[in-house]
């Protein structure tokens, strides 16, 4: 498909380039994640009070448990030993134990992850579908259409997601009883939170897409298609949309970060199980093993998503292939 615009490279050469792209991106990401782990290690040490107390979130425990923590984190050794021990634990996926929740951090996160991922997936779907539809409808040269779309987009991207969530809950759940008021089970429970979370992303993506569409509609190949008598909607879907998607792929990485952050708040508003409530209560209890565990996990997800976005870019946009 991309070959319409460029001479297709031989298959093995393309694969080689993709491998090289992946290689450099993964190497850079590993460096970033290693730096993040290191930063977290020193943050824990810099916190006021004993590192044991920090790790225990000041919960009251027996001397034996205290001794276990000291041994597990090599807290009786030098900084270097401690650092290596910490690095080793993180590398093997051991994020430590939460002494507030009395369970391993990995277990606690693992339990909440599916609900958060479901919310993120639903939000992504809504964002993509809604933005494509709205952008196609709004890609008009008529000034009033454009300015009203711009106005709605600006408004939608300015509404705080937690407030939108509160309003949606009040109207559609408490008053009209269309959707469940609490809980994370099932599709109906996903509708309102994912709308609240998607609203500002939809606004941003629609705008990028719409501008891209308008731009592409002026391209010669569109004129050709029109001249051939292709219908307007078909022109837009078949020919123009692909071009308009190029700038969108570049903001997908940004979106992922913004959605993960926003999901935290939305989960709290909608009483959904998930990483959000886990993290908030961990922050309130200063349960550092959980907080750092979530932060490191989010960093990994974010980095992986960005690598995928780069690959997607490479596939969609021939110009990035060098």
């Amino acid at each position: 498909m991309a070959g319409v615009l460029t001479v297709p490279a031989p298959r093995d050469r393309r694969a080689g380039r993709l491998a090289r792209l992946l290689g450099t991106r993964i190497a850079a990401s590993v460096v970033v994640l290693w730096a993040a782990v290191t930063a977290v290690f020193f943050l824990l040490r810099l916190m006021p009070g004993n590192t044991v107390d920090v790790l225990l979130a000041r919960s009251q425990v027996s001397p034996q448990v205290r001794a276990q923590v000291i041994a597990a984190y090599r807290l009786d050794g030098s900084v270097g030993t401690q650092y290596l021990a910490y690095l080793g634990r993180v590398l093997t996926g051991d994020l430590g134990e939460s002494y507030v929740l009395r369970e391993p951090v990995a277990t606690a996160i693992g339990q909440q992850l599916p609900d958060s991922l479901a919310l993120l997936a639903a939000t992504m779907v809504i964002t993509v579908v809604a933005s494509v539809v709205l952008a196609i409808l709004g890609a008009s040269r008529r000034p009033w259409v454009r300015s009203s779309f711009t106005a709605v987009e600006s408004l939608a991207s300015s509404v705080p997601p937690f407030w939108l969530g509160l309003l949606l809950l009040t109207v559609f759940s408490f008053t009209l009883h269309w959707f469940p008021a609490i809980g994370s089970g099932g599709l109906p429970g996903l509708v309102l939170p994912s709308i609240a979370l998607a609203a500002s992303a939809v606004a941003v993506v629609t705008r990028v897409l719409r501008e891209g569409l308008l731009h592409a509609l002026e391209e010669p190949f569109v004129v050709t298609a029109r001249a051939r008598g292709t219908g307007e909607l078909a022109v837009r879907f078949r020919h123009v949309l692909r071009h308009a998607l190029l700038p969108v792929t570049t903001i997908l990485g940004w979106m992922a970060g913004s959605l993960i952050g926003g999901a935290v708040i939305v989960e709290i508003v909608f009483s959904r199980a998930g990483i959000g409530r886990l993290t908030l209560s961990a922050v309130q209890n200063r349960d550092m093993p959980v907080v750092t565990g979530v932060v490191l996990l989010a960093a990994v997800i974010f980095v992986v998503v960005n690598i995928l976005v780069d690959v997607l870019n490479w596939i969609v946009d021939p110009r990035t292939r060098g």
């Binding site: 460096v31 454009r146 300015s147 991207s157 300015s158 705080p160 997601p161 940004w254 993290t279 960093a299």
Partner: protein, 281 residues
């Protein structure tokens, strides 16, 4: 939500000059409320009147009263300062840090650039609000720590733009001329590079302020921002939740205040970005 890195895409043709001026007018009002809240209302925002709780909007209480009988209009007006000051403070801090790191990355050569870029990558790798949560968990709950956390979120975006601008401007004739005249490198940076990079950064900061305000009100909403009884918009919303079954107004007006403030900053910032774009073309 808090990534200021994204330069929000702009329409190619400038429309909405009216919107810009309405936005600016609203921002002026907001600034006045931040500095002189007493100009707008005579009512004490923290005066609890036990005999008139949850009253609907009326002539006496324009936007009604909350569960403690406090005037919501007065609380929104007085709330402008705590609600905006975290976002403003975080933006200023992020800008300062971004200018220092961005200039350093552009000027310190390849190694320095690499180190600084990786540091920025680490900051960027943690999604916005989670980074703030981490900072608040380390430093403790409160406005100052929330500001620091948000500043760290905004910093990489500014640093990258500054770096790009400095590199762009460095190639300009007047800078080469100045260096040719034997000016000291540092003087050139301060006298020429930074001022020329300021325009785009200022526009970016204005747009970014919007998302900073959303983020800071989110933090207050979940109880990690200014503490009661401080009138803060996010905290007001959070306090109104339990009473939604009886009264809609405490949950609607503070949310509108946040939305309008964010909208005003976004509209003004985007307009500035378009103007700068056109000038630089």
């Amino acid at each position: 939500m808090t990534d200021t890195e994204l330069a929000v895409p702009r329409p190619r043709r400038t429309t909405g000059g009216t919107a810009f001026w309405i936005g600016v007018a609203f921002l002026v009002l907001l600034a006045a409320a931040v500095v002189f809240p007493a100009l707008f209302t005579r009512i004490d925002p923290n005066a609890a009147d036990l005999l008139s709780t949850l009253r609907p909007p009326s002539a006496a209480h324009w936007l009604g009263t909350d569960q403690n009988g406090r005037d919501i209009f007065a609380r929104i007006v007085y709330g402008a300062r705590p609600s905006l000051v975290i976002g403003l403070g975080a933006t200023v801090l992020a800008l300062a840090g971004g200018i220092v790191l961005g200039t350093a990355a552009a000027q310190l050569g390849r190694a320095g650039d690499q180190v600084i870029s990786r540091v920025l990558d680490v900051l960027l790798s943690v999604p916005g609000l989670l980074l703030v949560f981490l900072v608040v968990a380390v430093l403790g709950i409160g406005s100052a720590n929330a500001t620091i956390g948000l500043a760290l979120v905004g910093l990489p975006g500014f640093a990258r733009v500054v770096r790009a601008e400095v590199i762009r401007v460095r190639g300009a004739h007047y800078v080469e001329a100045a260096l040719g005249l034997g000016w000291r490198r540092f003087t050139v940076i301060v006298r020429h590079l930074v001022p020329n990079a300021v325009g785009p950064i200022f526009a970016l900061a204005t747009v970014g302020l919007g998302s900073m305000i959303v983020a800071s009100s989110s933090l207050s909403f979940v109880g990690l921002g200014p503490q009661p009884p401080t009138a803060e918009w996010g905290a007001m919303l959070s306090g109104s939740r339990d009473y939604l079954v009886l009264a809609w107004w405490p949950a609607v007006f503070p949310g509108l205040a946040i939305t309008l403030a964010v909208l005003a900053f976004t509209v003004a910032g985007q307009h500035l970005q378009r103007r700068i774009d056109r000038r630089s073309r």
